[in-house]
């Protein structure tokens, strides 16, 4: 990390990484998702894909379901490349600063009317989300990366944060509320396809309401120290992964020895 990147991540709790993945890889992933979208739930389940729906678009009854989350790493293919994305992984190394695993890999669909309400903030004291700096080094747990697979503007329901809330000492009065782009605390993060936002889970985050007919597609990939558990199915891999994987990918998925540091 450059001194400015270090300063910005500490100051705001997130870092914007433009063009984190190539247009080509984005295209491959979108093609695969198009194919997956044609499956019904039963067909998807048979392939090991589980959709968790978010039916919160009461104002837009024509668009149901408004969105879902899904364990897309079990599709394999182009998604495996992001396990150890060369553009972003060095940041995770500096932010966690000890052996870590990939503990969750989730695909998110957000249709019209859908949004993610604000959640988290330092004062929750969630032990698995802690943002910390000691002796001039980051010591974070749970650092996440949001990769945009499509261009997403404020109106199209982009990611949104409260910069600095990863150090907030008081309960977040906006917990559970829709991000309001006009509030002086709120910063929406519009992205181009292939851009990434790296953030600490202690940061208050959510997404704007998607007011368009365009579907937002995002990958959320999460990393944590070795002693922390993976998030169940969200690290399921496809057949043959172990043979295909690089040694770093294997270590990130299996997790390094959890208590090796003595």
């Amino acid at each position: 990390m450059t001194p400015e990147e270090r300063y910005l991540f500490d100051l705001q709790g997130f870092l914007f990484i433009p063009e984190a993945i190539s247009k080509d890889l984005v295209q491959q992933m979108n093609d695969d998702i198009d194919q997956m979208e044609s499956l019904n739930d039963e067909e998807a389940n048979k392939l090991g894909l589980y959709r968790k729906y978010h039916n919160n678009n009461k104002d837009h009854p024509g668009h149901n379901p408004s969105g879902y989350d899904c364990n897309i790493l079990s599709r394999g293919g182009p998604f495996e490349a992001l396990i150890d994305c060369p553009r972003t992984l060095p940041y995770i190394d500096s932010m966690i600063n000890e052996p870590f695993r990939l503990d969750g890999y989730m695909f998110m669909i957000r249709n019209q009317g859908c949004r993610t309400v604000f959640h988290h903030g330092y004062a929750e004291l969630l032990p698995y989300s802690e943002f910390a700096v000691e002796e001039g080094e980051f010591k974070c747990v749970s650092v996440k990366i949001a990769y945009a697979l499509r261009d997403v503007s404020v109106e199209e329901g982009c990611f949104a944060v409260i910069p600095g809330s990863h150090k907030s000492n008081f309960d977040n009065p906006f917990e559970g509320m829709n991000p309001d782009k006009n509030h002086p605390l709120v910063e929406p993060c519009p992205c181009k396809a292939g851009d990434a936002v790296i953030f600490t889970e202690d940061l208050t985050h959510g997404s704007m309401i998607n007011q368009s007919k365009k579907t937002r597609r995002t990958l959320f990939i999460s990393y944590a120290p070795a002693f922390q558990s993976p998030w169940g199915k969200l690290v399921d891999t496809a057949d043959g992964f172990e043979e295909r994987a690089t040694s770093r990918q294997l270590e990130l998925i299996r997790g390094p020895s959890p208590f090796a540091i003595v």
């Binding site: 450059t2 001194p3 400015e4 270090r6 300063y7 910005l8 500490d10 100051l11 705001q12 330092y122 004062a123 004291l125 700096v133 001039g136 409260i162 910069p163 600095g164 809330s165 150090k167 907030s168 000492n169 008081f170 309960d171 977040n172 009065p173 002086p184 605390l185």
Partner: protein, 281 residues
């Protein structure tokens, strides 16, 4: 410990440690803790703005005995401007200013540490303070505890006496920088190129309270002279800024105001020790 003596202490000097008195709303507290500042619109009504502007301009021409003028390039600093009286004296006890200061610093044991009138001309120097942990000025330290109380050191109230926005003589800050763990990397960067620096648009009469530990600067005005008023508060034991000690004259004329008297007292730790000192002297 000295419980007997404590009881004798007049209300004026009630020890504030841990009283947990709160004046800010939940949203204001959350905002100030995250951002390091609070804006107060229309802190002065137009008449007060005019009175303040005139008083500062008069003092700049012919300063009274207890006010010192420091001239820098394209900038005039009138130290101890509270001595000018009128609105410049009365503002120090405005509730909208004092209640946040008391919550942010240390209850009723706060002092006025410095007061200044500022006249900025086009070309005035724009300096971005360091802020955060790397700020060498420990007297600016920001302290706040999870779901608890603030214990900040120097906290500033800056009052705009012109409309300042769009980079024209604007006050600007790096939000959240009062909690920075790293030094900002912008020492050799022009303010315009600092991506996280935010202009705070203020109208004449608006005020901003901020932790002195927040990275901040005042931009140079483009055409005219811009006037500012600055009051800095600290805990009761913080010394006055050199040149900002309250004069005997000021102390005498504010004797009837309990709050002014307290804010202008010489520094003290325990109120009862201060009281005790009065007795033995």
């Amino acid at each position: 410990m000295e419980k007997k003596t404590k009881k004798k202490v007049p209300r004026l000097l009630k020890l504030q440690t841990g009283t947990g008195e709160r004046h800010l709303s939940d949203e204001e507290r959350h905002f100030f803790d995250i951002k390091g500042y609070l804006v107060m619109e229309n802190f002065f009504v137009p008449n007060q703005v005019n009175e303040a502007r005139e008083a500062i301009q008069d003092m700049a021409k012919k300063p009274s005995a207890n006010i010192t003028i420091e001239r820098k390039d394209y900038e005039l600093e009138l130290l101890n401007i509270v001595e000018a009286g009128g609105i410049l004296e009365d503002a120090i006890i405005f509730k909208r200013l004092l209640q946040p200061m008391e919550e942010i610093i240390w209850g009723s044991q706060v002092r006025l540490v410095a007061s200044r009138g500022l006249i900025k001309e086009p070309g005035s120097i724009e300096t971005l303070t360091q802020g955060g942990k790397a700020d060498p000025r420990r007297y600016t330290k920001y302290r706040c505890f999870v779901e608890g109380e603030f214990r900040c050191l120097m906290t500033t109230c800056l009052i705009a006496l012109n409309n300042c926005s769009n980079g024209n003589g604007t006050f600007c800050i790096i939000p959240a920088s009062h909690k920075s763990n790293f030094p900002h990397p912008y020492s050799n960067t022009s303010l315009e190129s600092v991506s996280v620096l935010k202009d705070i648009a203020l109208k004449a009469g608006d005020a901003i309270i901020f932790s002195e530990n927040l990275s901040h600067a005042i931009k140079s005005p483009i055409n005219e002279k811009y006037l500012w008023l600055s009051y800095q508060y600290g805990p009761s034991y913080m010394l006055s800024w050199p040149g900002c000690e309250a004069s005997k004259e000021l102390r005498t004329r504010t004797m009837d105001s309990e709050i002014k008297t307290r804010l202008l007292k010489t520094p003290y730790y325990h109120p009862w020790d201060y009281y005790y000192k009065d007795i033995v002297n």
